[in-house]
């Protein structure tokens, strides 16, 4: 076994699935044996060379990895134009939106579906917010000939119609969830309930770095391909590491995938961008770290939006993928240790970034990624011209054009 690095921030979680005080396995007894089975199977799989080689093969030939690291020259110039003399960092995009299915989600889905196969599970369920994880899961299930049921809040079904249709084309059953605000949180509740009732044959493919241990670790490990590639590509292109990394955070899988490989690189600053909705001082936002406090939901202890009595609050964001009142437990720990800075971007700021990116770079970003870009637009002008900032462009915005048109008052 490798000796742990002294002072490394990459050692978590511990045997109980904790990152500091966060994480854990807060699930009903009916699920507990299955959670332990997933953990055991994953521990075996990640040390199984054939398993990992098959995952890598899929990433290369099916997903199209490595995804490019793109120097966003026009965006850089645009931000420099309004910056002070000598200011305005070089902006790079890690182009996860070019992956098959249009987002980073497929990286961890393929790993998990291979695991489900290995465990002998014969059907797969998933929750989805924006529909990206649902589409990725439906895609992998089509490829591996597994029946797939995707739980999706009825509100999200309405605002993400293109992805709903995609999932159906791929042969998945989309199950609209009407409880609560009918968004991602409720979809996850319903997926967990369904899993409890179908433990024998069903694998639950969680889309983010949340849920009970081992999910936060497992999804992170698979998503680390983003940060690992970024590191290599940056060294090849610029001969050095970037000065800052920026990524939107809902549950936080794309951010964790980008950040984790850099956690021990002291010179690299990191910014997780939470959705501020209509503003963090209103009641309509999804900024769990900025405005929440620690609690337990969906199997783990983490920062949550909750009232004074520990009841979970409904989140709000223009982006369905960020519309979640919690965040992955490792993010909570990275926040409390101060390693990652958690900041916010509003619906309006994301809409502006969405349009600017489309016009300047010819890339229509997902509304999730547009939150990250909105923060880059604030951060880059405060950095020097020879500084480098990398944005995780985690998904493409095709799915969002109807939402954006609606907000801009355009009839399609």
């Amino acid at each position: 076994m490798n000796k742990p690095l002294p002072n490394s921030m990459r050692q978590g979680p511990d045997a109980r699935g904790r990152f500091g005080p966060f994480g854990g396995r807060f699930v009903a007894e009916t699920l507990m044996p299955l959670i332990l089975e997933v953990e055991k199977a994953y521990e075996e799989a990640k040390n199984d060379a054939a398993f990992m080689a098959e995952w890598r093969r899929l990433l290369t030939h099916y997903v199209g990895r490595p995804s490019p690291l793109w120097y966003a020259g026009r965006m850089t110039d645009h931000l420099r134009a309004a910056a002070g003399a000598g200011q305005g960092a070089k902006v790079y995009f890690k182009r996860e939106e070019l992956n098959h299915t249009g987002a980073h989600k497929i990286n961890a889905v393929l790993g998990q579906i291979l695991l489900a196969k290995k465990m002998g599970k014969t059907r797969v369920i998933a929750e989805t917010g924006a529909g990206q994880h649902g589409v990725a899961t439906a895609t992998a299930c089509a490829l591996f000939d597994l029946p797939c049921t995707v739980f999706m809040g009825a509100t999200d079904v309405a605002r993400q119609q293109p992805n709903v249709f995609r999932m159906k084309l791929l042969g998945a059953e989309v199950h609209p969830v009407t409880s609560g605000a009918a968004t991602l949180k409720d979809a996850m509740n319903e997926a967990l309930r369904h899993w409890v009732a179908n433990v024998e044959d069903t694998y639950y493919c969680i889309g983010t770095v949340a849920g009970p241990h081992p999910y936060p670790q497992m999804v992170r490990d698979f998503q680390c391909v983003i940060g690992d590639e970024t590191k290599q590509q940056m060294l090849a292109t610029e001969g050095r590491l970037p000065d800052a990394l920026v990524c939107a955070v809902g549950g936080g899988s794309s951010a964790m995938g980008l950040f984790h490989p850099f956690l021990d690189d002291e010179g690299v600053a990191m910014y997780g961008v939470e959705a501020a909705g209509r503003g963090v001082d209103t009641e309509e936002h999804a900024a769990s770290i900025t405005r929440g406090r620690p609690g337990v939901l969906h199997g783990n202890r983490t920062y949550l939006l909750q009232d004074d009595h520990g009841q979970i609050l409904e989140a709000h964001s223009i982006s369905a993928g960020l519309d979640y009142p919690g965040i992955g437990p490792e993010h909570s720990w990275l926040h409390e240790t101060g390693r990652v800075n958690y900041v916010t971007a509003t619906d309006d700021e994301a809409l502006e970034a969405f349009q600017l990116c489309s016009r300047l770079e010819g890339i229509i970003p997902a509304l999730e990624s547009a939150h990250g870009l909105a923060y880059v637009m604030k951060l880059a002008p405060t950095m020097k011209q020879d500084d480098i900032v990398v944005l995780n462009l985690s998904g493409r915005g095709d799915k969002d054009i109807f939402t954006v048109a609606h907000h801009l008052g355009v009839k399609l």
């Binding site: 109980r16 807060f26 044996p33 337990v296 979970i312």
Partner: protein, 276 residues
Amino acid sequence: MSRIAARFAALKAEGRGALIPFLEAYDPDPATSMAILRGFPRAGADLIEIGVPFTDPMADGPTIQRAGQRGLKAGATLSATLAMVRDFRREDDATPVILMGYFNPILSYGVERFCTDAAASGVDGLIVVDVPPEEADEIEPHARANGLDLIRLVAPTTDEARLPRVLAATSGFVYYVAITGITGTRSATSEALAAAIPRIRRHTDLPIAIGFGVRSPEQAAEAARIADGAVVASALIDTLAENLDAQGRAKPDAVRKVLDQVRALAEAIRATPKAA
């Protein structure tokens, strides 16, 4: 001896199992749920389970989800639930009361303060659905220090290797979840229960109650005969929900109908002596 131990000992001497009806705090309003709680013992409840409403009840089916939403809308909180138990205790010092709920409201209240206040209010035991034995140290020391039993769920999925560990972390009684599923959905067969209960008995001397899918007097009698008690929840809440008006207010005879149902369950259990 705790109220829970005393009650199960008395029932054992009587040669029958326990009826454990459930109500959700503040469903659909404080007065109605208090009236149901007060009426439970005379209708034949041997122990009482009170659900503490939570926005995201992971193990509950639609019936209890909706009951929780009605309770929350009516202003239910953890402290309001404790106040109900205090009121109840003014006239009943013998019937054990168990709170069932999820961890976050307890965390938010403060685990230590909650255990102190719950014991002082007359609560006897806790079922915290989303705190498995692996996370027990979150709550166990404070529960124990205050004499609160931590009643654990054992599920059909709890295997032989795991069973001793779950039972070691249990006090008061064992709650056997009869089905792999959520509350108020399907029911286990007598054969499945007859196989499951002896499996647990081999590892524990604690009384065992069966819940999830126990709806009719016949099912309750069967569960209480095979194990030591039957928890009936969704079937009672369904009755309450059927007796709400269009605005969600309890109709005049809603409480009576729920208590009549408890009476029918109790009669069936009392007419069924336990297998020796």
